[in-house]
């Protein structure tokens, strides 16, 4: 079996025994990328010469190249959030997560495609063009970390990292049939993650199975003096905690997540997964998260307000794009700001900056931004209340399987509603994982979402692991050859 088809934990064992070299793993990945990435387009750049740091201390058993979303800074490599306004920007420093990975001898394989500044749920809003779903090239891979999820699903990467502000790791993981983890807000340092919405953003793993997700989360988690919002809480040894059985655990099933709009095939698969969890010793409890229907509206106030503020820095002054109009409109500097942003930002980006600017503007602040922050409190309280009773909450990741490319391109609101089940974890800060739980009749992956208490990723991953091993969906891989 080519090495690119293995998991990181399998490869780590082979590396330990000396049965494989990091160079051989890289060569197989490169072959797969050359063969399929013309059609999938998961990558915006693949690094040519990877330098494999020889780290004798741990025998370099983790020297497995990783794919990185285009909004996570890699020193000296273009990191542009797939936006024209940042094209060519090569950060002079590594993000903390990249530094941590490099310290363990893990090289960056390349940067993956994404919706511009992570604004989207389909990876169609990229200045480098869309990524396609490896299970059906006419479908989107989800987004915004669609490139990372598609790379892992197409076996063009062993593992990857993405970022999740409203579902941007979990929804593409669901659409591509892989595992995606949004850690608790504060679990992973955001230093070097180009900001979208600072109170919601988290970096997390996208992997082929739960064990790899546990392994990768262990490598990137922890307090960072460079990110004051990173929590100074010890990081458990997640892989070591996977095996303990699930007896005694209580899982909540929120009825608000099983309503009109949920695809019947998704509903059936998720309910079967819940039955499987019961046979593993988990007790299920019907719960209510009464403010669920307000999540999307709240999110699109808070996330866009924070985004409009974070994106104010792209003005043509320091790096990236600088444009000036041919004729003076206001004055030289204002003209430069307005022209740079007009040409540098894509359509969805302008829409979100406009929406965020609106809800923060004088006269609308109380009715929109402040109201959004207050409803966020109500949403968080729903989860606080539920977690007094249960250890985890199980629900679908997305109401549907992957939709067709272009299907929602002209209807921003319907695109926003595709995040309806993932947004609440960001608003409340809790960890959540998406993993495969079946396939639709047309062969598209369906995702199961498990949420847990803040900083209890260990229980969440343990539950995911036992379900995964019982159900075995992770063994299914897309037949890229036939679909070309």
């Amino acid at each position: 079996m080519p090495y690119n088809e293995l998991t990181a934990h399998d490869l780590s064992e082979l590396l330990q025994k000396g049965d494989v070299t990091p160079e051989a793993v890289y060569q197989d990945l490169r072959q797969q990328i050359l063969k399929h990435d013309n059609s999938v387009h998961a990558y915006v750049r693949v690094n040519d010469a990877l330098s494999f740091k020889k780290d004798t201390a741990d025998k370099n058993t983790l020297a497995i190249p990783i794919a990185v979303k285009h909004n996570i800074c890699v020193k000296g490599e273009e990191t542009a959030c797939c936006s024209n306004i940042l094209k060519g920007f090569k950060p002079p420093y590594d993000a903390t997560v990249i530094q941590k990975l490099k310290n363990r001898g893990i090289p960056v394989l390349g940067h993956t495609n994404m919706d511009e500044f992570a604004f989207g749920s389909s990876t169609e809003n990229s200045c480098y063009g869309p990524t396609r779903n490896p299970w059906n090239l006419d479908c989107v891979p989800g987004g915004s970390s669609g490139g990372s999820a598609a790379a892992v699903a197409a076996q063009e990467a062993i593992w990857a990292i993405g970022s999740d502000t409203g579902g941007s790791i979990r929804q593409p993981a669901s659409f591509c049939g892989v595992v995606g983890v949004k850690p608790t807000y504060g679990r992973v340092s955001r230093y070097g993650l180009i900001a979208f919405a600072s109170s919601l953003d988290q970096i997390g793993p996208i992997t082929k199975d739960v064990r790899d997700a546990a392994l990768l989360l262990n490598l990137i988690a922890g307090h960072d003096p460079r990110d004051s919002t990173s929590a100074d809480i010890p990081v458990p040894d997640y892989p070591a905690l996977l095996d303990k059985d699930l007896h005694g655990l209580k899982v909540g099933i929120p009825h608000e997540y099983f309503v009109e709009g949920l695809d019947p095939e998704v509903e059936t698969a998720v309910k079967e997964a819940i039955e499987a969890l019961k046979t593993l010793g988990v007790q299920t409890v019907d719960i209510s998260l009464p403010h669920t229907e307000y999540c999307v509206a709240t999110y699109y106030i808070i996330a866009t307000a924070e985004a409009s503020s974070n994106l104010a820095r792209y003005d043509g002054v320091r790096h990236g794009l600088r444009c000036r109009p041919s004729q003076t409109r206001k004055n030289s500097i204002t003209d430069m700001f307005e022209e740079t942003r007009a040409r540098g930002f894509g359509e969805e980006c302008k829409r979100r900056v406009m929406l965020g600017t609106f809800s923060l503007s004088s006269g609308y602040y109380d009715a929109f931004y402040l109201r959004g922050q207050k409803v966020r409190t109500l949403i968080k309280q729903d989860f606080d209340r539920a977690f007094k009773e249960v250890d985890a909450i199980v629900m679908p990741t997305s109401p549907t399987t992957a939709f067709k490319i272009g299907e929602k391109a002209n209807d921003p609101l319907s695109m926003y509603l595709s995040d309806i089940y993932t947004i609440s974890a960001n608003l409340s800060g809790i960890p959540a994982v998406s993993m495969p739980c079946g396939f639709s009749k047309s062969g598209m992956p369906i995702g199961l979402q498990i949420c847990a208490k803040p900083f209890d990723e260990a229980t969440m991953l343990r539950m995911a692991y036992h379900y995964e091993q019982k159900a075995g969906w992770y063994k299914h891989k897309p037949g890229l050859e036939e679909k070309r």
Partner: protein, 94 residues
């Protein structure tokens, strides 16, 4: 709720020069999205405190220790234009 004038005002605040076509489209988009968002008006929030972030943190302090930071030349390595160790912009005052 959203008029073309509102869109122009917001675009001015956001420092984005919008084409006529974009103004038309965004006015319609913002109207649609804000109509959807107005469902939040159904909730009574009078006694509710706002949440700006979910962590139980107020201020995070550290010792004031002198340490190396990003060298000036590295920070300027991505500059569009620079002069005398600073980013430069078009002349502001005539």
């Amino acid at each position: 709720m959203i008029t073309r004038e509102t869109t122009q005002h917001i675009a001015n605040l956001a420092r984005i020069n919008l084409s006529e076509e974009e103004q038309t489209k965004l006015t319609r988009n913002l109207e649609d999205i804000l109509t959807y968002i107005s469902k939040l008006e159904r909730l009574d929030i009078t006694a509710i405190e706002p949440t700006s972030h979910v962590l139980p943190l107020k201020n995070v302090f550290r010792e004031d220790v002198v340490a190396a930071s990003l060298p000036q030349q590295d920070a300027l390595s991505t500059a569009i234009t620079q002069q005398d160790g600073a980013f430069t912009v078009p002349q502001v005052v005539e």
